[in-house]
């Protein structure tokens, strides 16, 4: 394209320079060429305009508003607001929406620049300048003809002076004609100068180069926007996908989820209160591995349905054991490990007091969650006639999940010895739960797992529609659905 534009320019100069020796052929050739340039410019302009997403000629703000990217951005931000900041999708929508808006701004600026520096000159060339040049050329051709005829007449007159008689009159006439020739000459020269000036004004190739430069620049800027937003989006994604409760430190999990009691702990306790309290060998009998895995995954993402696990208290108990076991640090902590062991070795009459002292040293989060669990286990032990799980039995099967030595693994034998001590620590705590933790515990802490019907004799009816965990569907907490969910064994 560049060459096509340049060629007529090169041609354009020379014919004007030799205008006096007018050559009809080249004349026509040039005009054809000019016309061709005009048509090409016209078409290019037209197609280029249709490439623009904004409306040509509109002001910057209006253009920005009407860009598809802007409307997309607005839709995303709006959607983000509706979904809420406490959901991954809502937050993502917001971040992405803002990014799209910045992209829209870049696009708008780019299009404005293209319009001003490429499209307008192109339009000028096709619609104004070339027609003008052609007009000018016609004018020039006419002037050249005028000049030629004036010159011919003058030459004629000069000849007749030599051969003629009335010299004076003829001389006067010749002089007159000479003036006409000079005048025509002047006009030709004048026209030539303006023609040349028009050509000089339109050196097109820098504009086209600019088009590419502008486009490259636009893409670079957009890339910068994308790259600057990418880490933020990545961070968002990470902060939400790394949300599993299993295997995450207690403090971190509580902080991130804004909870007081760990989600798996509360969920499992609430489920077991509903359907597991009469189950023989709860926490002892192994759960189906696939069911357990599924439940753990459900608790991790806290968006799945939990109803199906009601009928399988052993899976629920297994998930609770797993959660405690997979904590990076045991619920009863590493740093109090020695103190716990020491306390368990005290004489029976001093043991409770010693254990209480250690218990009091637990970090707040650990203490709160241990209290919650112990209160639940004590309640489970109340039904030990049916479920066979006495405080002793519970501490045998669950104790090793509450406290273990940091060195376990390298010293497996020590771990075996540890389990024995742990039983001696956990059993009295469950046995005397109300002495260790005098205040009553409301198991339904967050309200996420409970149904708001006070009709039954205990308030632990559950709503296992997990949508409520994400607080995305608050309406789902209501009655009949939950009723179908409850399965009493």
């Amino acid at each position: 394209i560049k060459k096509a534009f340049l060629k007529p320019l090169a041609l354009g100069h020379s014919p004007v320079a030799v205008a006096t020796e007018t050559l009809p052929m080249s004349h026509v050739l040039i005009e054809r060429r000019m016309e061709l340039v005009r048509v090409v410019s016209h078409n290019t302009h037209k197609r280029m305009v249709s490439c623009l997403q904004g409306h040509i000629g509109a002001d910057a703000e209006k253009r920005h508003k009407k860009l598809p990217l802007t409307t997309l951005s607005q839709a995303m931000v709006e959607g983000g607001n509706q979904l809420g900041e406490d959901s991954l999708m809502g937050k993502m929508m917001e971040v992405c929406g803002e990014a799209e808006n910045r992209l829209a701004s870049e696009l708008m600026l780019h299009e404005l620049q293209i319009e001003k520096e490429v499209l307008d000159p192109l339009s000028q060339l096709a619609e104004v300048d070339i027609p003008n040049i052609l007009k000018q050329r016609k004018q020039l051709a006419k002037l050249v003809l005028d000049y030629d005829s004036a010159r011919a007449r003058w030459l004629q007159a000069t000849k007749s002076i030599i051969s003629g008689t009335n010299t004076q009159a003829l001389t006067a006439k010749a002089d007159l004609l000479k003036e006409e020739v000079d005048e025509a000459m002047n006009k030709v020269e004048l026209c030539k100068v303006t023609s040349i000036r028009i050509f000089d004004l339109y050196i097109l190739h820098p504009n086209l180069l600019l088009q590419w430069e502008a486009q490259a620049d636009y893409h670079r800027k957009s890339l910068t926007v994308l790259e600057s937003v990418l880490p933020a989006i990545q961070a968002q994604q990470d902060s939400w996908t790394e949300k599993p409760a299993f295997g995450t430190g207690l403090d971190e999990h509580l902080k991130r989820s804004g909870r007081e009691i760990a989600l798996p702990l509360e969920a499992c306790v609430m489920m077991l209160l509903e359907t597991g309290m009469k189950e023989e060998g709860l926490f002892r009998i192994a759960a189906g591995a696939s069911k357990l895995k599924k439940l753990k995954a459900a608790l991790d993402c806290s968006t799945s349905q939990l109803e199906e696990f009601y009928s399988d208290p052993h899976a629920v108990a297994g998930a609770l054991k797993s959660y405690l076991r997979e904590l990076p640090e045991p619920l009863m902590t590493y740093h109090l490990y020695d103190e716990w062991i020491q306390a368990s070795r005290q004489d029976p009459d001093k043991r409770l007091q010693a254990l209480w002292v250690v218990c009091d040293q637990l970090p707040k989060n650990n203490k709160t969650n241990l209290r919650y669990l112990v209160k639940f286990l004590a309640r489970l032990a109340q039904d030990s006639e049916v479920n066979k799980m006495t405080p002793s039995n519970i501490s045998i099967v669950l104790g090793p999940n509450l406290l273990w030595a940091k060195t376990e693994g390298s010293l497996a034998e020590m771990a075996a010895a540890t389990s024995v001590h742990v039983v001696a620590i956990v059993e009295p705590i469950i046995q005397h739960a109300d002495w260790f933790f005098p205040d009553d515990v409301e198991f339904n802490v967050s309200g996420m797992f409970a149904m708001p019907t006070p009709a039954s004799n205990h308030n632990n009816h559950l709503d296992y529609d997990c949508g409520t965990i994400e607080k995305k569907r608050p309406g789902s907490m209501v009655g009949p659905e939950s009723d179908s969910v409850r399965k009493d064994k």
């Binding site: 023989e280 926490f283 045998i396 075996a416």
Partner: protein, 199 residues
């Protein structure tokens, strides 16, 4: 381990509540308790005849309720023979044995020269049966090990179980009877939980 040459170690694995302790107690003490007490880990010892002499049969009753991989590995690497117990009333308990068998296989390399018994306990509870005898046999065939259904409660096949296990050991010639009397020198070596298994 200086006593290695003399001790013969049997490890009992299985899910919680399938009756590992009951089987071991029935065999060692001849009693059955109807109480419900999970095991942490107990070890029982008994003198048996071995290669025309005597040696100590050491039976480790493991916990079924919480698997500590490190402890399990240790038990397997120290064990000479294994009893894998499930309850015929729980299909799940048979499933639970699969990872344990794989673990034994991984640590011992090959199970061909290792005596292993797959045991379906609680054979008296026919009404609650979930695992057919044929299924137990099929699993044993797949694992190339011996199979037996037992009842610690009714003392069915318990002694036979240990007899057959010892008979599977080809490196030593072992028998339960010494002087026709069994419980001569039995003792609890690791009395891990006082009140849990003293009858």
């Amino acid at each position: 381990m200086p006593e290695q040459s003399n001790d013969y170690r049997v490890v009992v694995f299985g899910a919680g509540g399938v009756g590992k302790s009951s089987l071991v107690l029935r065999f060692v003490k001849g009693t059955f308790r109807d109480t419900y007490i999970p095991t942490v880990e107990d070890t029982y010892r008994q003198v048996i005849s071995c290669d025309k002499s005597v040696c100590t049969l050491q039976i480790t009753d493991t916990t079924g309720s919480h698997q500590f991989p490190a402890m399990q590995r240790l038990s397997i690497s120290k064990g000479h023979a294994f009893i894998l117990v499930y309850s015929i009333t729980s299909r799940q308990s048979l499933e639970e044995l699969k990872p344990i068998y794989q673990q034994v296989l991984a640590i011992k390399g090959s199970t061909e020269s290792i005596p292993i018994m797959l045991v379906g306990n609680k054979s008296d509870e026919m009404a609650q049966r979930e695992v057919e005898t044929k299924e137990g046999e099929a699993q044993a065939t797949a694992w190339k090990c011996a199979f037996m259904e037992t009842s610690a409660k009714t003392n069915s096949n318990v002694k036979e179980l240990f007899q057959e296990l010892l008979a599977l050991e080809k490196k030593r010639d072992m028998s339960l009877s010494i002087d026709g009397k069994r419980s001569g020198k039995q003792k609890r070596a690791d009395k891990l939980k006082g009140k849990c298994s003293v009858m």
